[in-house]
Amino acid sequence: MTTVLATRSLVKRFGGLAATNDVTLDVQRGARHALIGPNGAGKTTLINLLTGVLEPTSGTISLDGADITKLASHLRVRRGVVRTFQINQLFNTLTPLSSLALAVSVHRKTSTRWWRSLGSDAGVAAECEQLLGRFRLGDVMDQPVHSLAYGKRRLLEIALALACQPRVLLLDEPVAGVPEGERQEIFETINALPADVSILLIEHDMDLVFNFARTVTVLVNGAVFAEGDVQSVSQDPRVKAVYLGEDDVT
């Protein structure tokens, strides 16, 4: 196993509050890694630090062994660190198709070609077609994003991340607000990603976490509370006490 994304003693303070407190985390190549913890444990803050939305107070982040602590957000994306957001962050006046075509063009480094039409590249169209099909967005591909139903927008949120061809995918509660019946399907799509893509998942639904993840890290009050494979973490009495106690996990 090789470590792709790693943090060392990562700290983020908001005033007196340490939202991320001395977190050392390794995400392996091809990981199916879940990040769990009670509300306010600092899960989203950690994702924001990993993607460069926030700058850490101290500590380092590295990708493939290279320090990316100070690297701008969009440059991390170009190196393959891509995320989805807990609350949809979409381009509301664009259509699903043009959003995806843009993301694919950026990934293919053709997004500065101002003299070519967005639709002129057959390769871009093929990738969009595939994503639209996979996320069943084909029938709404030409409607403005703001007019779409919530479920469709949630799917686009994830499709947009996949359009960037992630090597490390950070999913912040990807199925939040998605009806029970459709959650499994989204996870099947995520599971179908190439085996060498590393996935770090924040999720509250423990059934999904234990079906999906091989490694679990438990965050409590910004710090790593427990870490290990699914088996050991789900049976750890301390974890049960702080977090899983309310859920019926057996």
């Binding site: 993607t51 939305v53 701008a72 957000s73 969009h74 994306v77 170009r78 891509v82 995320r83 957001f85 962050q89 979409l90 381009f91 509301n92 006046t93 664009l94 198709l97 043009s98 959003s99 075509a101 843009l102 993301a103 063009s105 950026v106 990934h107 053709t110 997004s111 500065t112 070609r113 101002w114 003299w115 070519r116 039409s117 967005l118 639709g119 002129s120 057959a122 871009v124 169209a125 093929a126 969009c128 077609e129 639209l132 084909g138 591909m141 030409d142 947009l160 991340a161 359009a163 960037c164």
Partner: protein, 335 residues
């Protein structure tokens, strides 16, 4: 889609039609030269409309596409005008070379001032753009050895328009403005064609994307600052072209070109015509100038009252409904 298996996938077909010409666009592009042929007596008014339209198209690139609000867009308009007038006076009277120089100069100004609009909120940007225009206004006022100060830059003689790479005799600017209008129209059409390419490209889509959501734009790998710098530089050049055309066709540049009312007027024109679809500046400029002429012929002193009332009604009713009077009453009239 069960009818006849298409060679292209639905997404590819839709994308292929992304930049297709709409019928009304073609009609508009045809109407521009036709106006020159059919309305020879109104060339001076039409020329003013075309210059205002070009200026508004420039504002649309930053405001309508990239979401950069500006209350000082006249900075580029005035800068281009002074650059063209000074170049003609001090260096070379050829209008086309002068236009190129003015566009280059105002693009550089756009590039230099773009760093000021990268950070902060919309309010910050409104104030910063307003401030830049005020600074240029006072510079033009103070540097009177160069700009003529408050008297304006007079004695500018523009040479005849020579068609590049041809042996045709030059066209002198005439008093009834037909040559000036033809010249302005050609520049407007060329800029529109280039801008059309730009807004339908991945670059254009990226501007709309960062206008909608900067956080996500960065999260798909876009460099938001670089895109903003690029579009601000381009828009600076286009506004400079509009200013240069005005200076060249009137043989005059004055402080008034940097004035706040210019920046406010072009914003108004764009609001009337609509933002974010490239042609709002043209429709807005036509509506604005015609309204101006109509109302001032009827009641010269109270023009501002009526344009103010018009603006209030337009914005409250909404442009979509305003231009569709049949939706004003009856079912579904309320949004």
């Amino acid at each position: 889609m069960s009818i006849a298996p298409a060679a292209l996938s639905p997404a590819a077909r839709s994308l292929a039609g992304y930049a297709r010409w709409r019928w009304w666009e073609l009609a508009l592009f045809a109407a521009l030269p036709l106006s020159w042929l059919l309305l020879p007596g109104h060339a001076l008014l039409l020329k003013d409309i075309a210059i205002l339209a070009l200026f508004a198209v420039s504002l649309d690139l930053i405001l309508g596409y990239a979401g950069i609000v500006s209350l000082g867009h006249a900075a580029f308009f005035g800068f281009g005008a002074y650059a063209a007038a000074l170049f003609a006076k001090e260096v070379l009277p050829d209008p086309i070379v002068g236009l190129v120089v003015a566009v280059a100069a105002s693009s550089l100004l756009g590039l230099a001032t773009s760093v000021l609009i990268l950070r902060g909120t919309d309010l910050t940007r409104l104030m910063v753009t307003l401030g830049v225009a005020s600074i240029l206004y006072e510079l033009a006022n103070k540097l009177d050895w160069l700009t003529g100060g408050a008297d304006g830059l007079t004695g500018v003689v523009i040479g005849p328009i020579t068609v590049p790479f041809s042996a045709l005799a030059g066209f002198e600017f005439d008093l009834n403005g037909r040559v000036a209008y033809a010249y302005t129209l050609v520049v407007l059409i060329v800029v529109l064609l280039i801008a059309r390419r730009l807004v339908y490209s991945p670059f254009g889509a990226s501007l709309q994307a960062l206008r909608d959501n900067r956080l996500r734009a960065a999260s798909i790998g876009l460099s938001v600052p670089l895109r903003l710098i690029a579009v601000y530089t381009i828009a600076g050049g286009v506004a400079g072209a509009a200013g240069a055309l005005l200076a060249q066709t009137s043989g005059f540049a004055s402080l008034d070109l940097f004035d706040f009312h210019r920046s406010a007027e072009v914003m108004l024109v764009l609001v009337i015509g609509g933002t974010g679809y490239l042609y709002g500046g043209i429709f807005g400029a036509i509506a604005f100038k015609l309204l101006h002429d109509l109302i001032s012929a009827w009641t010269p002193q109270y023009w501002n009252f009526w344009i103010g009332l018009f603006l209030v009604v337009l914005v409250l009713v909404g442009r979509e409904r305003f231009i569709r009077p049949w939706t004003w009453f009856g079912k579904g009239a309320r949004p």
